[in-house]
């Protein structure tokens, strides 16, 4: 018996055309928040020059979003393969502690600190990748291992305590300015461009999407799906390392317990809001970029509107649920039916 193929059913509805550009949702959210701020908060859009630096709420948003922006790159790739990486927050802590301990012990050469950190991040990613692709452990479980163990590892490295960072060259990474603009978001943006060019100019992006869209078919077409998946986790680990460096540099202090805490969730949210489906397949780096900015804007807006930081996760949760519902085929079909009924 041949199965009916429901492929064409969605094509004509307006929802489908929205589906085609997943960046639309975070963009719409950003516009909405901008509107709210335009009405309710003064000076939201004001950027002033102070000591040759541009300052203002917008700049703060960009600066504070940098960490989630960077994590979002790797997370997008991992999610596109149909996986997830819960360990990025812990990897940030491991890397942050390592960098801080290195500098405390007199290794002040920035290139070696960065090289060791990135290598360490890549190694963490490789462990995750091998657990997923070679040992065939479910991604959520495989990366949970490092998420939990990573906190212990970072305590081990730092000796259980916070480690202050006094190397001002290093602290420039998280606090410096370039041409008057905070350095961190510039670094993040450059990373997006570089990864985007790499993925789209080589066939790597296609391989990741293929492996996430239909792993069996990809394997039958000759793709080394295991290697592709592994690569995504390695990139994710490297991104986590960069995010970790940025965070400890910004705070000038590496704390094995609080560095990168809950950051994996923010990164996953940014990816999901950005229109890369958790089921894998097509990814959208621009969407993730906008998603990360949207999350930060939301946090700041709530602060401005006077929502206490204790309740702030609530509206965040509502946003995420709304986006996930919009992405689910079942909800769309249900909504589509409602709209059609209302129209007739």
């Amino acid at each position: 018996m041949k199965w009916p193929e429901p492929a064409n059913r969605m094509n004509k509805s307006w929802l489908a055309s929205v589906k085609k550009s997943p960046a639309v949702w975070p963009l719409a959210g950003l516009l909405l928040l901008g509107l709210i701020n335009l009405i309710f908060s003064r000076n939201f859009f004001t950027v002033t020059e102070l000591d040759g630096h541009y300052v203002g709420t917008l700049m703060d948003i960009f600066k504070n979003a940098s960490i989630v922006l960077i994590l979002g790159v790797g997370m997008t790739l991992v999610i596109a393969t149909g996986g997830i990486d819960l360990s990025v927050g812990s990897v940030m802590a491991i890397v942050g502690a390592t960098a801080a301990v290195m500098m405390k012990n007199g290794v002040n050469s920035l290139p070696s600190v960065i090289a060791v950190s990135i290598g360490l991040g890549a190694l963490c990613g490789l462990v995750n990748g091998l657990l997923v692709s070679w040992a065939r452990i479910q991604p959520i479980v495989a990366t949970l291992i490092l998420m939990v163990a990573g906190r212990g590892i970072s305590q081990l490295i730092s000796g259980g305590d916070q480690v202050l960072i006094t190397n001002e060259h290093f602290n420039y990474l998280g606090n410096g300015f370039l041409g008057g603009i905070p350095l961190a978001p510039i670094l993040a943006t450059v990373l997006y461009l570089a990864v985007w060019i790499w993925l789209r100019r080589s066939a790597t992006g296609l391989f990741i999407e293929a492996a996430g869209d239909n792993e069996t078919a990809s394997r039958f077409a000759g793709l080394a799906t295991g290697r592709v998946k592994c690569l995504a986790y390695v990139v994710c680990g490297i991104c986590a390392a960069m995010a970790g460096l940025l965070e400890v540099s910004y705070i000038r202090d590496a704390d094995p317990l609080s560095t990168g805490q809950y950051k994996e969730l923010d990164a996953i949210f940014a990816v999901v809001i950005g229109g890369t489906a958790l089921s894998g397949g097509r990814f959208n780096l621009l969407g993730t970029y906008l998603g990360a900015i949207l999350l930060q804007t939301l946090t700041v807006t709530m602060l401005y509107v006077g929502v206490s930081s204790a309740v702030a996760p609530m509206p965040k949760a509502v946003l995420i649920i709304a986006v996930c519902l919009m992405q689910s085929e079942t909800t769309r079909r249900w909504l589509g039916r409602k709209f059609r009924r209302a129209a007739t």
Partner: protein, 516 residues
């Protein structure tokens, strides 16, 4: 009146059942009846409507038309649970039990005795023991199910199914993963249930088993009933011709000559073999067999459903690992550990399961076409976009793929066009050997003819083709040589003038074998 001769109505009577899916008529006007105390086999090839009929019977689907009566009472099961309550129990091919629970828990699952959410353990065990006793199985009910052999698990599943006051037992390919001894055990239980007056519907691909145990059989084809026969009165050859829709011409069993073509005369023993398989086999998939695929030849692989056609192809392409024999590609022994290794040596495999093993649904037609070539080249030797577009434009035109553009997601294309795009994927790798498994299934006649032309062209270009199809005339039409599989054995190879429908059916059915 007929009722005078046969006063008791059949246990199950399904009358003119119809079921349509968007674009497909799965069943039309099908009658099916089972008497109490008989084992009744339901037979048919792919697309015959067997599984749809079973699903209507067990409440998974609601029929569009017709009537179902159980012991004379009209019923309309709305769900499998509902059907179970009415007395229709089903055991599927895969054991649907929970391996980490005990036998007793599995048998009692979903209908635990007890009150207020507390289990009555002694009652649960008593229950399970009684259910097993009915099948004369001696088993500790506290054993964890997963620790038992598959055949015993299968029997626990039957015990669970019969635990309710079942009148009709549906066994959907219960023997697919069992070995001969286990099958014999299962048959013993089936015979016993038959004497207890149960009606049993037995779905299987193995004709030997049909003749070994069933009393009557019903043949379906293309969603219609071909007929209902006492098993003993129908020969294997007749049965197979009814399943495939090829009619016997006269008493002596001569057949209408089916579509011989020039392809049959193109057998060329001297052509260089691209791939030789020597005694290659895999336990549970296919018994060791030899196969030589030569340049410029189309080797057909014929056999009934479940005869091991696809399993053979999977061994050749490195999807499953062979546990015996060796493969030589262009004379050199090779060990494939993955399709990737096979592709690197110039092999290609167009799977029968377009959805699961073929398309990348959300990616574009272009990406679907270039993926195999790109994977063969590696990520760094990227095909430039202009090259990709040229390649796709070429294949879209050459294979007449109907798509609004090369950038359309492939899931929006019709089955036939998806199939052509998948063929394009493999042609783009310029293979020396292409395995096509059911390339024409579920696609329209125009596209079928085009795919057959394409295969002829590949042959003329010196490509070796392994052509797998359940449409026997298609195999005859396209092949220069035909290997025939029956029940996971290679039973014959015909080439050139030897190829004819009669011999093929004869071998596929194992017509030389005696039957009960």
């Amino acid at each position: 009146m007929a009722a005078a001769e046969n006063p008791a109505p059949p246990l199950l009577a399904m009358r003119s059942i119809g079921k349509k899916f968007p674009g497909v008529t799965a069943l039309s006007g099908v009658d099916f009846s089972v008497r109490a105390g008989e084992i009744h086999s339901l037979l048919g090839e792919n697309g015959a409507g067997k599984s749809t009929l079973i699903k209507v019977l067990t409440g998974v689907y609601t029929p569009d038309g017709g009537e179902v009566r159980l012991a004379g009472t009209p019923i309309a099961p709305a769900s499998p649970r509902d059907a179970e309550r009415l007395g229709i129990s089903t055991v599927y091919q895969e054991v649907n039990l929970i391996s980490s629970l005990s036998v007793a828990e599995n048998i009692g699952l979903g209908r635990q005795p007890g009150k207020f959410g507390f289990l009555n353990w002694p009652a649960l065990r008593r229950h399970a023991r009684a259910a097993l006793a009915r099948l004369e199985i001696d088993l500790d009910v506290d054993t964890e199910l997963g620790a038992l052999p598959l055949a015993i698990q299968q029997m626990v599943a039957i015990a669970r199914a019969l635990d309710m006051q079942a009148k009709l037992l549906v066994l959907d390919e219960p023997t697919a993963s069992l070995d001969e001894k286990e099958v014999a055990e299962l048959f013993k239980i089936m015979r016993q249930l038959r004497t207890q007056g149960l009606g049993i519907v037995f779905v299987t691909h193995f004709l030997d088993q049909v003749y070994a145990i069933t009393d009557r059989l019903t043949v379906l084809r293309n969603g219609e009933r071909v007929g209902e026969y006492p098993t003993a009165s129908l020969g294997r050859l007749e049965l197979v011709s009814k399943m495939l829709g090829r009619e016997v011409r006269d008493e002596e069993g001569h057949f209408v000559q089916g579509g011989k073509t020039t392809a049959n005369s193109l057998t060329d023993e001297s052509a260089a073999p691209v791939l030789e398989a020597r005694q290659i086999g895999r336990r549970g998939a296919v018994h060791p067999l030899d196969l030589t695929l030569r340049k410029g030849e189309v080797t057909g692989l014929a056999g009934l459903l479940g005869s091991g056609r696809t399993e053979t192809a999977r061994l050749l392409f490195g999807i499953d690992r062979a546990d015996s024999g060796e493969i030589l590609v262009r004379g050199k022994p090779v060990k494939f550990s993955s399709p990737r290794a096979a592709i690197a040596l110039g092999l290609a495999f167009c799977s029968e399961d377009r959805k699961v093993e073929g398309i990348l649904p959300n990616l574009s037609v272009r990406e679907n076409i270039i993926i195999a070539l790109q994977a063969k080249q590696g990520a760094w030797r990227t095909l430039r976009r202009a090259e990709q577009d040229k390649l796709c434009a070429h294949y879209i035109q050459a294979l007449r793929i109907k798509t609004s553009s090369a950038e359309t997601p492939i899931k929006n294309l019709s089955g036939g066009n998806q199939q052509k795009a998948l063929l394009a994927r493999w042609l783009a790798t310029q293979p020396e050997l292409i395995i096509v498994d059911e390339p024409t299934r579920g696609i329209d006649i125009g596209a079928k003819a085009e795919i057959e032309q394409l295969i002829a062209k590949l042959r003329a270009d010196g490509v070796a083709v392994l052509f797998i199809s359940s449409e026997i005339e298609e195999v005859i039409r396209n092949s220069t040589r035909i290997a025939i599989l029956r029940e996971r054995h290679k039973v014959a190879e015909l080439s050139g003038e030897e190829i004819d429908l009669h011999r093929l059916l004869h071998e596929m059915a194992g017509a030389g074998k005696p039957h009960e």
